[in-house]
């Protein structure tokens, strides 16, 4: 049990607390490590070449300083923070950097990153905004170019079987993450929002197979330990990502258990498996364009507003129902346009389900977190019927 503990939540805490450590170790052992920005780069290709994919994140503890000379102040602070860390050499172990045209902020930041922080291998992945047939085709071709770039860098071709195997491993990770999400359905959930965040960030910092082992160990641990968590109001987090446990701690000590996240460090990268197609790039492109449900992708307007919102947000009903959600926190990192434009429609959508929504535009800084406590407490009081 002790050994298992070291493999499970504690291991996640350790990795989360020292994000680059494992990657640096592996690099010393001769592995290549690539950083990627956002959920869109198909990291299965990296795994197929035995490259360790590390998700580029920011740090809410670190005041943004170096980035000020290169990025304007009025923009997504998460992107600024990530770039700031890059300029402070905190990602200097990357052998490669993959940027993506996810949202404007991520796209421009990725360009500027590649201008000022040079890794041996770089790729900017254009991601179409639409999901029409030609767009899917185009995206597949982009990924093929990405593949070629990787192959040239590594001096080897990706064999279809290796790629399929990589997809299988990443799908396994997705399945394990979904299984862990399942453990947040009970009341109280078997794993807290803070613990989940540590686990997800941990798996985004290590090779996929190590991540799968970690996930399995965590699942075993949380299903056997005495549940340390109390029943509280159950919260769904929607919107911009949260990548620091100080934030989840604050929320979960203000009357809530976070039970599900519709964010980029949440269900979005993990909810659907990649279909294994004859040409693996078909399944890959389809997954990343159609199944990663970030609002940066424009999905067709229906013939009515209702049809449109249902098509875009029906899955939120599923989450709310199955995770027995009491309320929603709409997290908007200040200046996030992708989620900003959706605030009224999402609020309406949740209201129709009878779920109140707390909307907060925040400044992505642990120094500014405590002032949010009253808002969460008031929201919890509201749900308790005060």
């Amino acid at each position: 049990m002790e050994e298992q503990k070291k493999m499970g939540l504690q291991r996640a805490v350790d990795i989360y607390g020292h994000r680059g450590l494992r990657a640096r170790q592996l690099k010393e052992e001769g592995r290549k490590v690539f950083g990627y920005f956002c959920c869109y780069p198909p990291i299965e290709l990296l795994t197929a070449l035995d490259i360790v994919p590390v998700r580029v994140l920011g740090n809410m503890d670190e005041p943004v300083t170096d980035a000020d000379d290169y990025l304007p102040p009025v923009m997504c602070i998460f992107c600024r923070s990530a770039f700031d860390l890059g300029m402070k050499a905190q990602y200097n172990y990357f052998d490669g950097f993959i940027g993506a045209h996810a949202c404007d902020g991520a796209e421009r930041t990725a360009f500027i990153w590649q201008n000022y922080i040079t890794s041996p291998c770089n790729f900017q992945l254009d991601v179409p905004h639409t999901t029409h047939g030609p767009a899917l085709n185009f995206f597949k071709e982009q990924i093929a170019l990405f593949q070629k770039t990787l192959e040239e860098f590594c001096g080897t071709q990706i064999q279809p079987d290796d790629l399929k195997q990589a997809i299988v491993l990443h799908n396994r990770q997705r399945a394990l993450v979904r299984e862990l999400y399942g453990m947040r359905k009970p009341d109280p959930p078997l794993i807290s929002g803070t613990e989940m965040l540590q686990v997800l960030i941990a798996v985004m910092s290590i090779p996929v197979s190590e991540g799968n082992d970690l996930l399995q160990a965590v699942i075993d641990e949380v299903t056997t330990r005495a549940n340390p968590h109390e029943a509280k109001r159950r919260l769904l987090v929607w919107g911009s990502l949260i990548d620091h446990t100080a934030f989840t701690d604050l929320i979960e000590s203000s009357g809530f258990n976070i039970v599900v996240e519709d964010t980029a460090i949440g269900t979005r990268p993990f909810w659907h498996d990649i279909e294994i197609t004859t040409d693996p790039l078909d399944g890959i492109s389809d997954h990343y364009l159609n199944e990663v449900l970030c609002p940066r992708t424009f999905r067709e307007t229906g013939s009515t507003y209702q049809a449109d919102t249902d098509a875009r947000f029906y899955y939120l009903k599923e989450f709310a129902k199955h995770w027995n959600v009491d309320g929603v926190f709409a997290n908007i990192i200040r200046n996030c346009d992708i989620h900003g434009y959706e605030v009224p429609v999402v609020k309406d959508y949740f209201s129709e389900m009878g779920l109140p929504v707390l909307v907060i535009e925040q400044d992505y800084s642990t120094a500014a977190l405590e002032t949010l406590r009253t808002r969460f407490e008031a929201f919890a009081e509201n749900l308790d019927g005060y």
Binding site: V13, G20, R24, N59, A246, D249, T366, A378, E381, N382
Partner: protein, 306 residues
């Protein structure tokens, strides 16, 4: 203090603001005492003394209080509170009790400013500005000093103006400078004061409109005692505003109401246990559990070694 069955219950709400402590003692039907006292930064240590005053006013003693709810900025520093509830909820409940038609509450405090939406007597939405002095009591304090007048004068003085100065800056630093410039240009103090009120009302309005302003509107907090600000807000809102007779106590009143509800959900034994375990000593900086929590370092676990 009376027989068990049908015994009158007493509840207290204590609202600890950044500089002023407010207490309301009530039974289920009426307010028995209300006290407003400046405590400054010492509120932590003085809360129980303010409570003593309130008890005297209500002709009760400490053991008569069946349930105490603390609210406000300093609510974590009240060792004798049985529960803590946010000021958002408490203001909302207090105002609703006084005026059930109110749908929008604008609370203008010393350090922050809030908009609260009410629906069927419950919290519907809210918005807070606790980052910037514009729209708060602090702003008026600073400007009053610059203009060389007392804080209490600034509102009534602004009402005498027929030609408000145009103040474009709401950052306190720049607004101060602007006020000084206007003074040196010979602009009458009343006009400057009026301009300041107008600008602040605009800022408050911008914030509150985000939660959709609906009638009836109420103004609470210290800002409600500023007649100039109330008029500017009314002009901006183009709606009548309800100002409670004592706008400072709405939070404590709401807290007392909630105390009553919470007590009603407990049985005799639980209520009695509360009284037994209540701590009446003054909170010291290091012994207060709330302070201890606040002092815990939250960030020690996270390192970006890279």
């Amino acid at each position: 203090m009376g027989i068990r069955k049908g015994k009158t219950m007493f509840y207290a709400g204590i609202d600890i603001g950044s500089t002023i402590t407010k207490i309301v003692i009530a039974n289920r039907v009426e307010i028995l005492a209300s006290v407003i006292q400046r405590t400054g930064a010492e509120h932590r240590r003085r809360a129980h003394r303010v409570m003593d005053r309130a008890l005297v006013q209500a002709e009760l003693c400490v053991d008569d209080l069946d349930y105490i709810v603390a609210t406000g900025y300093g609510r974590i520093n009240v060792p004798f509170a049985d529960a803590k509830v946010t000021e958002i909820t408490c203001h909302m409940r207090g105002v609703s009790w006084l005026h059930p038609d109110v749908r929008t509450i604008i609370d203008i405090g010393g350090q922050d400013c809030k908009g609260i939406k009410v629906k069927d007597g419950r919290l519907d939405d809210f918005i807070m500005n606790d980052k910037c002095a514009a729209g708060t009591g602090r702003f008026f304090e600073i400007i009053a000093k610059v203009l060389g007048i007392d804080l209490e004068e600034i509102g009534p003085l602004s009402l005498t103006s027929t030609n408000p100065a145009e103040i474009s800056n709401l950052c306190t630093v720049f607004a101060e400078q602007e006020a000084l410039s206007r003074l040196s240009e010979g602009v009458p103090i009343a006009d400057i004061a009026a301009g300041i009120h107008k600008a602040n009302a605009g800022r408050i309005y911008s914030m509150v409109r985000k939660i959709k302003i609906e009638e009836a509107v109420a103004i609470t907090g210290g800002g409600a005692k500023n007649s100039g600000l109330c008029r500017s807000l009314q002009q901006r809102l183009q709606l009548p505003v309800f100002i409670p007779p004592e706008p400072l106590i709405t939070g404590a009143l709401g807290a007392a109401l909630i105390a009553g509800e919470k007590a009603a959900r407990l049985d005799e034994r639980a209520l009695s246990a509360l009284k037994t375990h209540r701590r009446w000593d003054a909170a010291t900086f290091f012994s207060d559990p709330g302070t201890l929590v606040a002092m815990e370092s939250k960030n020690s676990q996270h390192q970006h070694v890279g």
